[in-house]
């Protein structure tokens, strides 16, 4: 096969298409035919002068492909071998996507090197989107499976509370002693309230997740004033604290004007949840402490109590989405899951520490907006 002249129509077409054509000579060396395209020189500057592709040193990928190419050339005929795309780095650091094709033409073994262009970029872009979709689908599927397990656990909790109500009502039906009836009514009433609380917690978690999803899709950034959310949370828990005789001690004066990028109802709910939890753990007559402090662009809020620490197995999954635990801890996790979702949605962090001297300490770190003290 004669060399391809860049001025010949065939040579001009190949050059315009970005191909470099190599012909295998009798010694097995791949000799460049025609003028090397600029991109070829940018990767292997010595190709033009050597006039043959020094394959052993040029590219490990091509070296590997030449095994397949050899098979193709031996078979002859119309058989072709394609390398698939690969990336080479030019001397200036730019990465070029290439593809090699081995074929036989005019009885000669030909190696075509092509710089991949717009069609390849379009294919790459399509694959990028397709794979992003597959990954998103897999994550969604996994999340749905976890939700199903969570729903099963919730159902079991609700069934247990409902069974208590039904049993109490049946016993009331048979009971004649007013004192016993009153006791059974009290039991049924408590079970009903437990069920209502659980339903509310479940609704809160799902509502928060839904709102979180909406937020990620481009809604306006939410904003909450720490002082206002704290006041609202205090009001929410005040009567419960009074009932148990537990004091609420708040420190961190001067930071009430701090604003954070979280919906104010979410922040109030997060703070209320942490205070309620502190109250549940705290011994009667004791105190729950809430402290907030500014730390380089963030606000650290810590709620501590002197109650018994959580068992280690619960601590490990306190904020986790994992839902393989027994129904009991699940119910405990629900409000903390909400807190985690709400806090992480505004790029904050949440954590729990079991205190060495006894008690629990929950903390949240929230990025602040410009402070208005």
């Amino acid at each position: 096969m004669p060399d391809l002249d860049r001025d010949s129509p065939a040579g001009a077409v190949l050059e315009a298409l970005g191909f470099a054509v190599f012909v295998r000579d009798k010694s097995g060396a791949l000799r460049l035919s025609g003028t090397p395209p600029d991109w070829l020189r940018s990767i292997w500057p010595d190709v033009a002068s050597a006039a043959s592709l020094p394959i052993d040193h040029a590219s490990p990928f091509l070296e590997n492909f030449l095994v397949d190419a050899g098979g193709c050339w031996s078979a002859g005929g119309e058989k072709r071998a394609r390398s698939g795309p690969w990336v080479e780095q030019a001397a200036d650091g730019i990465e070029l996507s290439l593809e090699a094709t081995a074929l036989t033409a005019g009885g000669q073994a030909i190696l075509l090197l092509e710089r991949l262009g717009e069609i390849f970029e379009a294919k790459k872009s399509m694959l990028q989107k397709a794979r992003e979709t597959v990954i998103a689908y897999q994550r969604l599927n996994s999340e749905m499976q976890k939700k199903e397990i969570l729903l099963n656990c919730i159902s079991e909790e609700m069934n247990a509370a409902l069974a208590n109500v039904i049993t109490s009502l049946r016993l009331i039906e048979m009971e004649k002693n007013p004192a016993q009836i009153a006791q059974l009514l009290s039991l049924a009433s408590r079970a009903t309230e437990e069920q209502q609380t659980l339903i509310n917690k479940v609704l809160n978690v799902f509502a928060a997740e839904l709102e979180g999803l909406r937020g990620r899709n481009g809604m306006a950034i939410a904003e909450a004033k720490l002082g206002d959310a704290l006041l609202a949370a205090e009001e929410n828990v005040a009567s419960q604290f009074a009932d148990k005789g537990v004091r609420l001690s708040i420190t961190g004066n001067g930071l009430a004007g701090i604003r954070v990028a979280m919906d104010s109802t979410h922040l109030t709910r997060v703070l209320s949840t942490l205070l309620e939890n502190g109250l549940q753990s705290a011994p009667a007559g004791d105190e729950v402490r809430l402290n907030f402090a500014e730390e380089s662009g963030s606000i650290l809020i810590r709620v501590t109590d002197n109650g018994p620490s959580f068992p280690k197995d619960i601590c490990a999954n306190l904020f986790s989405r994992a839902t393989t635990a027994t129904p009991g801890p699940q119910a405990l996790q629900l409000p903390f899951q909400f807190c985690r979702i709400a806090v992480e949605n505004c790029e904050g962090e949440i954590g729990y520490e079991s205190r060495k001297d006894g008690g629990n300490s929950f903390w949240i770190m929230l990025p602040t907006l410009a402070a208005t003290k």
């Binding site: 095994v67 397949d68 690969w86």
Partner: protein
């Protein structure tokens, strides 16, 4: 200097390219950019006092759009099988791919990298699963291309396994 070819194998989006970027260039990006085709990087490491040049082939993720091309495995001395610890399905895929690799090129040294270890709250692979793989003789590393944890260790250990396996 000893030169060894390593292939990065696994499903799409598990972090094969990110592991190489961290190991070779000490870089990490959160943005997912799919690999199409092959890219080769090199890094020299010291394995038990010997200099070993690792030629790392970053292969396109195996999925419904592109199956692993076994011709790329020719001449490899070992491979890093990568799964995403936050997507259990990618471990199932890794196990299936490994079966195809063995069928194509026979048994070779390999390590399982359970990547994205920094995303602990989303972790989906429990210890029972890794224990059962261990019982089959699989060695695994928890890696984080983001934080670097386990990355260098995995590559160097694979280098060691390859140099010891003649």
């Amino acid at each position: 200097m000893i030169q060894k070819k390593i292939c990065m194998i696994g499903a799409s989006g598990v972090g094969k390219t990110s592991l190489i970027a961290k190991f070779v260039h000490s870089m990490f990006s959160d943005k997912y950019l799919t690999t199409v085709g092959v890219k080769i990087d090199k890094k020299t490491v010291s394995v038990d006092g010997s200099e070993v040049m690792l030629m790392i082939w970053d292969l396109e993720g195996d999925d419904d759009y592109q199956r692993l091309q076994t011709s790329y495995l020719r001449g490899t001395s070992g491979y890093l099988l990568v799964a995403d610890g936050t997507r259990q399905i990618t471990l199932d895929q890794a196990i299936e791919i490994q079966g195809r690799v063995v069928a194509a090129i026979g048994p070779l040294p390999f390590l399982l990298a359970l990547n994205k270890a920094d995303l602990a709250p989303q972790w989906e692979i429990d210890e029972a699963r890794t224990d059962s793989l261990s019982a089959r003789g699989w060695r695994s590393f928890k890696t984080s291309a983001k934080e670097g944890a386990g990355v260098e260790e995995a590559f160097i250990e694979l280098g060691r396994m390859m140099t010891q396996s003649k």
